[in-house]
């Protein structure tokens, strides 16, 4: 399988009055065609910044300092703004944005927003044709095509989420990035949306990055998993492998923090302390202040990702390095 997206040592910092926020600090991962990767981490760990960096739509105070993002062999970091717009955004990579509730502009009709995406990239398509395509997309995501002329406020949360997914599919992208697609929705709707995404992936052979803080969502919809902590990927590899044998203490704790509703009652496990401030991250391994296995070296030297067993499992932890 060819590699679709290859992110290498990506570094994105934000400049603030108090200093640099090291939101993404040397992140690498790769996605093959047709693969789905889950990017998991707590709030503020830099997940969303990774996405904004890939699409190069960072706010003005954010900058990509280092690294490469190869998409179909082309380094996006070096592409001009115009090339990004014409070739990559939406056509190559599209985005289902966090919390979906706000991803639709409240003052335009949903159909117009979908048509806009189509006509930006295919200027020859008439507005009518674009709307017709929009109706098809509506059907695809299980919405009533007649509601294409509604405003976002006339939709419920679940419907908005579906409409956003329809919009993301408008230009037949190779890669779909879904940023917390189901948070802020009720359990049942959440399940429906996830089910829809899974289905679409199958029928359209999409690659996908699913960003979430909820490991259990990733567990059922992805092939690969990258666990982020404080701007770095601490564990990365095949989903099943990691779930079977998580190596990084953070991953271990995180998996235990999500109780299984069907399992026997067991005490809940937590990680002491709280996530670090990315303005002043701890030295060495960024997890060391909260790690139950912290050693001397952990606060001094930053662990490098090490491949374990197969190529499909990397861990950045001194515990593993020693082994």
């Amino acid at each position: 399988m060819p590699t679709l997206l290859d992110v290498k040592n990506l570094k994105t910092y934000y400049t603030t009055l108090r200093g640099y926020v090291k939101a993404v600090d040397g992140v690498s991962f790769a996605i093959e065609k047709g693969e789905a990767m889950g990017l998991v981490g707590e709030s503020g760990c830099g997940k969303t910044t990774v996405i904004l960096s890939i699409l190069k739509i960072l706010p003005p105070e954010g900058r990509i300092l280092d690294g490469n993002v190869f998409f179909k062999g082309v380094d996006l970091v070096k592409l001009s703004e115009k090339e990004m717009r014409d070739k990559i955004r939406w056509k190559g990579i599209s985005l289902v944005f966090q919390g979906a509730m706000n991803a639709l502009n409240p003052v335009y009709k949903v159909g117009d927003q979908i048509a806009e995406a189509i006509r930006t990239h295919e200027p020859n398509v008439s507005k009518k044709e674009a709307l017709e395509r929009g109706r098809k997309l509506f059907e695809l995501v299980g919405l009533d095509p007649d509601r294409i002329n509604s405003y976002p406020h006339e939709f419920s949360g679940g419907m908005k989420q579906r409409a956003v997914i329809a919009m993301a599919l408008a230009c037949n992208p190779d890669l779909l990035i879904a940023d917390e697609p189901a948070t802020a929705l009720d359990v049942i709707i959440q399940a429906q949306v996830l089910q829809l995404i899974k289905q679409l992936r199958k029928t359209l052979h999409l690659s996908m990055i699913l960003i979430t803080h909820d490991l259990s969502i990733v567990a059922e919809s992805c092939d690969k998993l990258a666990v982020m902590y404080a701007g770095k990927i601490v564990e990365y590899g095949d989903l099943a492998t990691i779930f079977k044998e998580p190596l990084h203490p953070y991953t271990q704790a995180l998996i235990k923090a999500f109780p299984d509703v069907r399992a026997e009652r067991s005490p809940l496990v937590s990680i002491p302390g709280s996530p670090p401030d990315l303005l002043f991250p701890p030295s060495g391994c960024r997890f060391n202040p909260r790690c139950p296995y912290s050693m001397d070296i952990c606060s001094k030297k930053e662990p490098v990702p090490i491949e374990v067993k197969s190529k499909m499992h990397q861990v950045a932890c001194h515990l593993i390095g020693k082994r």
């Binding site: 679940g158 049942i188 709280s274």
Partner: protein, 329 residues
């Protein structure tokens, strides 16, 4: 035999919809949000009672009525046999010591302009139960109880100097400082990072044992409820659909809605394949809830006219397992 602390009978809350002056002049018909519609349950000493439901199911309204933040439209709330609904504010004030609440968002529930000491001392001052040094001692004691040690280090801090988990501990401490018998915990961890949720919940569990406190734990997360609660009640559109001990509810769910909810909970295990979501559509508006069984519009096991017409009542099926569904009659 443990005693019942709180018994709720036919509790109902309909919020009138406020409309413009003009519209109410023209139309006499009042509209209501039927947030809670005649529910019954009881909570025993030291019990952790889970109230589970989607947003708009009325679970938060129920919790607030129990501590009298909201006046019920009708119904009774009996605290050790005494109805607190009919009490005046004066009569109820001493009882507030016994009934406390922990709020959802620790970023919202602590006054940003008050120090931890003032926040924790406030209940003592308002209730006038301690003075001077005694306040100080009790505050320190409670900080130790919620594992914010050493207490002196936290006394003069402001909420913004605390992490989310620490804030929720302070909020817990505030609820505990009056030695209550019963605490309503309204989604106390939904705003916290996953890695620290468990520590707050574990603290609550531990306190319920050491201090002998009963909890009403309100959540939308069935998985958490299952691991925390003794009894779980499932609410849908202001009605209790099923009520049973946590184990029996999870293992043998009876109501189609409970089954759907359970199926919708994602499982953190890539090997297990969960069932397809069979339930369609979204929760209807509580302003105009469906007639009969409120779930009938989405029910995969809809059995006909009776579901549309008759509201099923909560009946006991197994031992301490209640369900409101026409399938079980």
């Amino acid at each position: 035999m443990t005693e019942t602390i709180l018994k709720v009978e036919k509790l109902k809350k309909w919020f009138p919809i406020t409309r413009g002056l003009l519209r109410s002049l023209f139309s006499r018909r009042e509209l209501y949000v039927r947030a809670v519609d005649e529910i019954d349950f009881e909570i025993k000493e030291r019990e952790i009672f889970g109230l589970v439901g989607e947003s708009g199911s009325g679970k938060t309204t129920t919790g607030r009525m129990l501590v009298r933040l909201i006046e019920p439209t009708s119904g009774k709330i009996l605290y050790r046999g005494k109805d607190i609904v009919s009490m005046s504010d004066e009569e109820f004030k001493p009882l507030r010591k016994k009934l406390q609440m922990i709020f959802q968002d620790p970023y919202e529930s602590l006054n940003p302009k008050m120090t931890v000491f003032d926040i924790l001392a406030e209940p003592l001052r308002v209730q006038n139960v301690a003075h001077g040094d005694e306040i100080y001692e009790r505050v320190c004691k409670i900080l130790e109880d919620v594992e914010l040690t050493p207490p002196q280090e936290f006394l003069q801090r402001y909420p913004h100097e605390l992490s989310g988990g620490q804030r929720q501990r302070v909020a817990t401490g505030r609820a505990l400082i009056l030695n209550p018998e019963f605490i309503v915990a309204d989604e106390p961890v939904s705003m916290l990072d996953v890695s620290i949720r468990a520590e707050v919940l574990n603290l609550m569990l531990q306190l319920s044992e050491t201090h002998g406190i009963a909890f009403l734990y309100i959540t939308h997360d069935l998985a958490l409820a299952r691991h925390l609660c003794d009894t779980i009640a499932v609410m849908y559109l202001g009605k209790i659909m099923e009520l049973a001990s946590a184990d029996s509810l999870i293992k043998e769910p009876l109501h189609p809605y409970t089954k759907a909810l359970l199926a919708a909970v994602p499982v953190p295990d890539p090997t297990s394949k969960r069932a397809e979501v069979t339930i369609k559509g979204e929760i209807p508006s509580p302003v105009n809830p469906p007639s009969g069984c409120r779930f009938h519009t989405r029910c995969p096991q809809f059995i006909g006219e009776i579901c549309k017409k008759e509201t099923p009542s909560l009946v006991e099926i197994g031992s301490h397992h209640y369900v409101a569904c026409h399938l079980y009659r």
